[in-house]
């Protein structure tokens, strides 16, 4: 019994002696996320002291009669001050409540919250910044053993997979001929498409500048410069997207994932999703190893290189085939196949008169194309 009383007394003593140390310290990932938000709010927080290394999470209370030497900074929680703080008080994603008995030698700051001043003595400035904080709440609410950046990377990869899937199916529905033409160019002229894509990327900015200069020569042209810039950027984005989707389509087709059954659209959709899944898989793998330091960085670098090559090849194929509208860019060999096939069953009839030629009957499972 005596020991229990002593233990309770010791705990009470510790709590009252260190009223501001009962919270958990920010993890490195949480601190990075908060720092990113703070950096984004740099103009609004000009001159405000925010020592994130000393930050804790959750609510904090500094009761009347107690004193904290130094700054108090908490993330995702309210700071309730009734005592004395010989520094500044700040809350990120939370409020600062200053009771009438509170004495703050420095400043009081609430980011993503409000400083509620009930007549406290504050030596410095009282500042509140109300700003949306994208994602920070979800990150801070996650269990500490899960790396938020890993989940973020995986979610990003899945989101892009979904977006590109939607784009791909839109192309399949609305312009399948263009998609297949670009994919065919990729299949037959991979190296050439890559070179054209690299040149296209290098020349994109000079082309935009040239366009603006050309328009600036005339008075009417100056007026349409913003529209021309917008159209150029939309066109470039469209070319990149079409090229990448076509690249994924070509990849899916190359690994032979097409089903034999189902409609044409379903088969094409299967090919496209297979191709996109290759790239999504690479990024998911890289995202899953975000926590792994150098390995994660290397995997992300690999994924970036693979994706850049794919986008570049797709862009080159899109340019050389004029977004799939130039049929002869794909393969002149294909064009030559038709007369040969046609000649298989045609027999010239001499003018002198010969009994009608007999049409050959194709062998079962023969090489004839349907």
């Amino acid at each position: 019994m005596r020991n229990a009383i002593l233990a309770v007394a010791a705990v009470a003593l510790l709590v009252t002696a260190h009223p501001a140390r009962a919270q958990s310290v920010l993890s490195a990932a949480q601190r990075d996320s908060v720092q990113q938000w703070v950096n984004e709010l740099a103009p609004e927080l000009a001159g405000a002291p925010l020592p994130l290394d000393a930050a804790t999470t959750g609510a904090r209370s500094i009761p009347a009669g107690s004193t904290v030497s130094g700054d108090v900074l908490t993330v995702h929680g309210t700071v309730d001050v009734a005592g004395r703080v010989e520094g500044s008080v700040a809350a990120i994603d939370g409020n600062v409540i200053l009771r009438a008995s509170a004495v703050v030698i420095g400043s009081a700051l609430a980011v993503g919250g409000t400083v509620v001043d009930s007549g406290a003595s504050v030596g410095g400035e009282v500042r509140s910044v109300h700003a949306s904080r994208p994602g920070i709440l979800a990150l801070l609410n996650q269990p500490t053993h899960v790396r938020p950046s890993t989940a973020h990377a995986i979610g990003l990869a899945l989101a892009w997979f979904a977006i590109l899937g939607v784009i791909g199916f839109a192309v399949l529905l609305l312009a399948p001929a263009n998609l297949e033409a670009v994919a065919e160019v990729i299949s037959r002229h991979f190296g050439r498409s890559f070179l054209i894509g690299v040149v296209g990327q290098i020349l994109a900015l000079p082309a935009l500048v040239l366009l603006i200069v050309a328009l600036a020569i005339t008075l009417i042209g100056i007026v349409v410069i913003p529209l021309a810039v917008l159209a150029f950027m939309l066109g470039a984005a469209g070319a990149l997207a079409l090229g990448f989707v076509a690249m994924a389509y070509a990849n899916g087709n190359a690994i032979g994932s097409a089903r034999t059954g189902g409609s044409v659209l379903v088969r094409r959709g299967g090919i496209l999703l297979t191709g996109l899944a290759i790239y999504a898989g690479i990024w998911l793998l890289a995202g899953a190893f975000t926590w792994a330091g150098v390995v994660g960085v290397l995997l992300r670098a690999l994924a970036s290189i693979v994706t850049w090559v794919a986008v570049t090849v797709g862009l080159g194929a899109t340019i050389s085939s004029r977004a799939g509208t130039r049929r002869d860019a794909a393969s002149p060999v294909r064009e030559l196949e038709e007369p040969t096939l046609m000649a298989e069953w045609q027999t010239p009839t001499p003018v002198s008169g010969v009994a009608a030629a007999r049409r050959p009957t194709p062998a079962p499972g023969g090489a004839r194309r349907s």
């Binding site: 410095g124 910044v129 109300h130 784009i167 839109a170 065919e184």
Partner: protein, 312 residues
């Protein structure tokens, strides 16, 4: 399957749909950026006067910059050194405030972030009624300190209600905006200089007799300037220097005040004064008036109108 052929008619149809698809793809690609758009933002900063007691005797300098929005400057509650409230759209402007203890200077600014600079020319981001509603800045200044105000307003609207403050100096520059400067009650300090610069804008300065300004410097380019001294008796003679280019200036003066204008006029006019001698225009009561207002002006394609109002 890749080699499937399509009829030429279908190819042309595909070309037509390609543009739509391209736009849809671009929109989808841009969607993450759109999703990251932020909501309205608020910044509130204030400081109690007692925190700066050591600097009570010195003048407080105020540097105020406002872009694409409304600004209101007024006296603060007793005991407050300053109170700054900004409500704005971060997609248009970014607000910032900072008090420099050493220089005893308050910096408040909203910097434009919208629009693009192409070859040095700002394109887009033109302010409209919505931006005026979405970007509102209110700055309250202390009553018991001398204030030296420097303000720059661009593309917005402003009301400076400086009555009740102790304004020792003010420099107001505004461009493409509408601004009202008002001294509804007497300035608690003698203002050594009031500088007004207006470009493609309208500035309406009322109750100027309460400003207690020893000298007023005005530059008006392609806009309008209205100086109204009609609300109170002048405490001292006033000297005004004006540079007018493609603009009009109206000066409202009580009938009891003597007025003289010395102007170099190039394609312009001076009206409202009866006597003229070369470059000098004077009112009938110039010799007998106990309070006098003198204007030295350079006018190019513009004019100055002296309007007599009833004595307060």
């Amino acid at each position: 399957m890749i080699a499937e052929r399509h009829a030429p008619k279908r190819r042309s149809r595909s070309r037509a749909t390609l543009a739509l698809v391209g736009a849809a793809m671009a929109a989808a690609l841009l969607s993450p950026a759109a999703a990251a758009a932020q909501g309205p933002r608020e910044l509130h900063a204030h400081r109690n006067a007692r925190a700066s007691d050591s600097a009570a005797a010195s003048t407080m300098h105020v540097e105020l910059r406002q872009n694409k929005g409304r600004v209101h400057v007024l006296p603060a509650d007793s005991g407050t050194l300053y109170d700054v409230r900004a409500a704005y759209d971060p997609a248009l402007v970014r607000a910032s405030t900072h008090f420099d203890d050493a220089a005893h200077t308050l910096h408040v600014s909203t910097a434009s972030v919208s629009g693009q600079h192409i070859f040095g020319m700002h394109v887009g981001g033109t302010p409209d009624d919505r931006s005026l509603e979405r970007n509102v800045l209110t700055v309250a200044l202390p009553r018991d300190r001398d204030v030296d105000l420097s303000m720059n307003l661009r593309a917005g609207e402003g009301v400076l209600d400086l009555g009740g403050l102790a304004v020792s100096g003010a420099s107001i520059t505004h461009w493409g905006s509408a601004l009202t400067l008002r001294f509804s009650t007497a300035n608690r300090a003698a203002m050594h200089e009031l500088v007004l610069s207006t470009t493609m804008a309208e500035l309406n300065a009322t109750d100027l007799a309460n400003a207690h300004a020893e000298r007023i410097l005005g530059t008006v380019t392609a806009g309008g300037l209205d100086l109204d001294f009609g609300n109170a008796p002048l405490a001292a003679d006033v000297d005004i220097t004006l540079r007018v280019l493609l603009a009009g200036v109206r000066v409202a003066v009580p009938e009891s005040v003597g007025v003289r204008v010395v102007a170099n006029v190039r394609a312009g006019s001076i009206s409202g004064l009866t006597k003229r001698d070369e470059h000098t225009w004077t009112s009938d009561n110039w010799e007998t008036a106990t309070r006098k207002l003198t204007i030295e002006a350079g006018i190019t394609a513009g004019g100055i109108t002296i309007e007599r109002v009833a004595a307060p």
